[in-house]
Amino acid sequence: MTAQPTLLAIALTVLATVAIASTADIGDRQKLMKSNGAATKPVVAMLKGEAPFDLAVVQKSLANYQDNIGQFVTLFPDDSKTGEKTSASPKIWEDMAGFKAAADKFAADAKLASASITDEASFKANMPAVLKNCGSCHEAWRVKDAQ
């Protein structure tokens, strides 16, 4: 008699955890992408000549990209395909290896740029290649309001 409510409680707890886990992952993904956006904004302003070049800010942004993207790719469990207005394309789960390779490329490009950017000229020469990753990944792996 008592086993049933206990089982039910366990089942409910498991369900709730799963639900929380997946929405938490989606929320964290979105936070990391917002953080990437915040890191990109000053960099784009510098590229456009709307803000003075600041090496420290550039290096910080490049470091943020590497940290964020490393975490980002771990936040796509199977139970996080929908919910919380996710913009993740279903393609991510169809081709997880391709998705991870794209993330690795972004991290590698940011790392390379971090080593080669020392002044404004090297910034203007190397930064666009890093930012190109934003567009190519969003084109392939993101669908606005996918659900």
């Binding site: 992408m33 917002k34 956006g37 915040a38 990109t40 904004k41 960099v43 784009v44 207005k85 913009s87 394309s89 279903p90 930012l131 934003c134 567009g135 190519s136 990944c137 969003h138 084109e139 392939a140 792996w141 993101r142 669908v143 606005k144 309001d145 996918a146």
Partner: protein, 309 residues
């Protein structure tokens, strides 16, 4: 009684003939023959190149697997709720492409959705927008296409679901919905606004994705530009009107800048199909991108699906 039945059958046969005739290309030219198809001047491929970019022709007609944006052999599947479309080869190849077309045939195809063999195109090819182009501009696009490499290979037929697979139905669809004409400048508005309107409403065909449609596949006029469901059924296309759910807090500069580098004011990089659109608009002049922004900011604000950031 027998007479009544005979009359009904006769009426039905007549109605059938009428419907058949109405769905024909000839009916369209009889009812809407006000359209001019011949350009009044020598073709200008330089202008054609600009319009080709503004129209994003290559985005649908690209040869699969080719990275050369001048290869327009067609064939990349376009998945829609109606079935799969395979955009045709529009390269100047004389056999598989449009190399043997005349300029007038091209203008008719672009502006009226009618092929040289008189069949109608599906409006997945956005001729309801291209209809707003002048015959001169349309002929210039044709002249530009003639300068591109000829690509061999005929594209397979569309794989559409019934009843969309009945191509003849398009004749009726056009009679019912394909109207309007060349967009002429509004003398009370600035040159930039007029240029922007011409690009956005015409060759740019922005409303084709950024608007909801009726069940008949026609853009809902009162919701034009307020965003719509993505054509492949996944996701949502943003509201372009200056409403809080759209571009209210964007400046003209923000819009022009997005059309150049694909970045929103928050430094987010546009994705999905818009990434490809930006590859095209990036080829336009700063003035043209700014003109499109001026026009979009002048639209009446319409509430749409709210954007997630």
């Amino acid at each position: 009684m027998a007479r009544l039945i005979r009359s009904i059958i006769a009426a039905m046969v007549l109605a059938g003939f009428a419907l058949y005739w109405l769905s024909d290309f000839d009916a369209y030219s009889v009812f809407r023959s006000d359209q001019r198809l011949k350009s009044s001047r020598a073709p200008d491929p330089v202008n054609g190149k600009i319009l080709f970019a503004a129209g994003g022709c290559v985005s649908c007609h690209a040869s699969p697997g080719s990275t050369d944006r001048r290869h327009i052999g067609g064939g990349q599947p376009l998945k829609t709720p109606f079935g799969i479309f395979y955009p045709p080869n529009i390269s100047p190849d004389p056999i598989d492409g449009i190399g043997q077309w005349t300029s007038v045939q091209f203008v008719r195809a672009l502006r009226e959705g009618t092929a040289p063999d008189r069949h109608s195109y599906y409006p997945a090819f956005p001729y309801p927008s291209y209809r707003h182009l002048s015959p001169e501009d349309a002929a210039d696009i044709f002249a530009y296409i003639q300068t591109l490499p000829a690509i061999r290979g005929k594209v397979q037929d569309h794989a559409l679901d019934f009843p969309y697979s009945i191509r003849r139905g398009l004749g009726l669809w056009k009679l019912a919905f394909l109207n309007g004409g060349v967009i002429e400048p509004d003398p009370t508005r600035s040159e930039g606004w007029n240029r922007g309107r011409y690009l956005v409403e015409g060759i740019g065909h922005c409303a084709e994705c950024h608007s909801p449609r009726t069940i008949a596949g026609v853009i809902l006029a009162e919701k034009r530009f307020s965003g719509g469901p993505a054509i492949d059924g996944k996701g949502f296309v943003p509201n372009l009107t200056p409403d809080p759910t759209g571009l209210a807090d964007w400046s003209e500069g923000d819009i022009a800048s997005l059309l150049k580098d694909g970045l929103t004011p928050d430094a987010d990089s546009v994705g999905g199909a818009m990434a490809e659109v930006v590859r095209n608009t990036a080829e336009l002049s700063e003035a043209d991108r700014r003109a499109m922004a001026i026009y979009l900011k002048s639209l009446p604000p319409i509430e749409g699906h709210s954007r997630t950031k």
